[in-house]
């Protein structure tokens, strides 16, 4: 097993990552280092492969070149059994929540515990209720996923993600489609859980304001490469015009408002 050469303070070390899908390059030499105990955000425009990066970290996809190390272990050099053991140290919150629709809220959170432990039922019940209490949904334990709002669904998924007390949680677009109250609750939860449980959090998002509020470190990815990285404050004042346009949400700049095309006048005057 590869013990790697990462610093002990680095939980995830991605180096020279190349990945393409159907001939289209997604990553062309990405280097990302995620320090332990931090909330690190991976940001970038839609379609830049942020979710793909999480799947590469989790070993669900294989890179075409480069190495992804988690806690010093080369994720893609592990066999089936070792990879599944490693995943017990990771939690992932999917954009859709990915709750099991045929199980109640309680059973969804109990699922990983039932699969990986032989805990007696009273202890398992207490653990599940504690996880649900942490996300404020102990009272919703008997509800079915179909009865939950989008925000509640993600909080249940979060309770499930922390059920096995992982070292790291990956959040895939946690704020998309949330109302302001749910958004506020999620932002607070991510930061609080990270600090209270001693986790490392990786957030993939393009919601700049919310992410910048809680992130310690931000990587901005575009066109298959890391364009810039640093603290939220540093990126807000980045020398790169593109990064400033992205971080401040400006409609025009290096990324033009208009998609390239012929002149408007010539288009309008064109006769069929």
């Amino acid at each position: 097993m590869d013990s790697g050469a990462s610093s002990p303070d680095i939980l995830v070390d991605i180096s020279d990552l190349h990945f393409h899908r159907g001939g289209r390059p997604i990553f062309r030499g990405v280097d990302v280092r995620i320090p332990k105990g931090t909330v690190t955000a991976i940001m970038g425009p839609s379609g830049t492969g942020k979710t793909t990066l999480l799947r590469l970290i989790g070993g669900q996809l294989r890179p075409h070149r480069g190495v992804v190390r988690f806690a010093g272990q080369d994720v893609h050099a592990l066999g089936h059994g070792a990879l599944y053991r490693l995943r017990r140290s990771m939690g992932m919150l999917f954009q859709t929540g990915a709750l099991f629709t045929h199980l109640s809220v309680f059973e969804n959170v109990a699922f990983p515990l039932r699969e990986h432990t032989q805990l007696p039922e009273p202890l398992l019940r207490d653990l599940v209720l504690m996880k649900l209490e942490a996300v404020g949904l102990r009272g919703a334990r008997d509800m079915m996923p179909g009865e939950l709002s989008g925000g509640m669904g993600r909080r249940v998924a979060l309770a499930r993600a922390i059920a096995l007390d992982p070292d790291m949680i990956m959040y895939d677009e946690p704020f998309t489609g949330q109302d302001p109250i749910s958004m506020g609750a999620l932002v607070k939860l991510i930061r609080t859980l990270n600090d209270a449980l001693g986790l490392t959090s990786v957030i993939v998002s393009h919601d700049v304001a919310e992410t910048a509020r809680i992130a310690d470190l931000i990587y901005v990815i575009s066109d298959g490469r890391v364009v810039d990285s640093g603290t939220p404050q540093a990126l807000m004042e980045s020398k790169s015009e593109w990064v400033r346009q992205f971080m401040h949400g400006l409609p025009d700049g290096p990324v033009p408002f208009h998609y390239p095309g012929p002149e408007l006048v010539s288009d309008l005057l064109e006769r069929r």
Binding site: H80, Y84, M92, L99, T101, A157, L164
Partner: protein, 258 residues
């Protein structure tokens, strides 16, 4: 013409790729089957979902197929004064052919399509990915119990179908058409061989159960994760299973009775 050839080539390559993926998928599922040994409850729950919930359509179809066989068979046999052989005709038709084949076709429509849609939707809503990230292998937790349950359920359903078909034919032949009940059963007992007729039918239904379940779970697992993708996969399950069952039935019949 060139375009047609290109499309034909592309379709052929794609079919072989799919077959390769399906075989690789099956190998991965079969190597994980041992993980079900300590958890028989997972398979039993699926036997209920796949087998028990299919009983209504099997029971109704079995009775009516038997009843129709009796009507049609009687009308032909009576011309030769051989109407007492109705029981033999019905039993051999059901045990050798109709039981396994019709059950498999009904299974594809009722349980196979449901399996594909369920697994496809789990994939579309990232439930399978979620399971992987919870360090639970979906091939072992979701796919293997369903494959095994389909394999176990099919011969039981086919046996039920054949039994009810024979009873349906008895009601029509003896009850409505006035045949002698003793002749119906005794001729059947004389003509039906346990190994040649009953066991060959069971072997057929085991093969059909395995193939139908494999196609159903593979199509769900391999589908494009969109609503259209799930819909196409469900259709493919019914079509491919039906064609596979009919083709395999010919091969098995040729080997067993040819």
């Amino acid at each position: 013409m060139l375009g047609l050839l290109a499309r034909l080539g592309a379709t052929t390559i794609s079919s072989f790729q799919r077959l390769g993926r399906g075989t690789f998928f099956l190998a991965r599922v079969l190597t994980g089957l041992h993980s079900l040994l300590p958890r028989p409850g997972l398979v039993i729950a699926q036997v209920y979902s796949i087998g028990v919930l299919s009983l209504v359509i099997i029971v109704v179809s079995g009775i009516f197929v038997g009843a129709v066989l009796a009507l049609q068979g009687y009308n032909t046999l009576v011309n030769f004064g051989a109407e007492d052989a109705l029981g033999v005709l019905v039993a051999l038709s059901l045990l050798r052919e109709l039981g396994p084949v019709v059950t498999a076709l009904l299974f594809a429509g009722r349980a196979g399509s449901a399996l594909t849609a369920e697994i496809g939707l789990m994939k579309t809503t990232e439930q399978l990915s979620g399971m992987e990230m919870m360090a639970v292998d979906p091939l072992r937790r979701v796919i293997a119990p369903r494959l095994l349950a389909g394999f176990v359920s099919m011969p039981l359903l086919a046996a039920m179908f054949s039994f009810l078909g024979i009873m349906g034919a008895y009601v029509v032949g003896v009850g409505a058409l006035g045949l002698d009940g003793g002749a119906y059963w005794s001729q059947m007992q004389d003509a039906v061989d346990f190994r040649d007729d009953v066991m060959n039918g069971v072997i057929k239904s085991l093969v059909f159960g395995f193939v139908a379940s494999w196609i159903a779970v593979f199509e769900g697992y391999d589908c494009v994760p969109t609503s259209e993708g799930v819909s196409s996969a469900t259709t493919r399950t019914v079509v491919h299973t039906s064609l596979a069952v009919l083709g395999l039935d010919f091969v098995l019949t040729a080997v067993m009775f040819g």
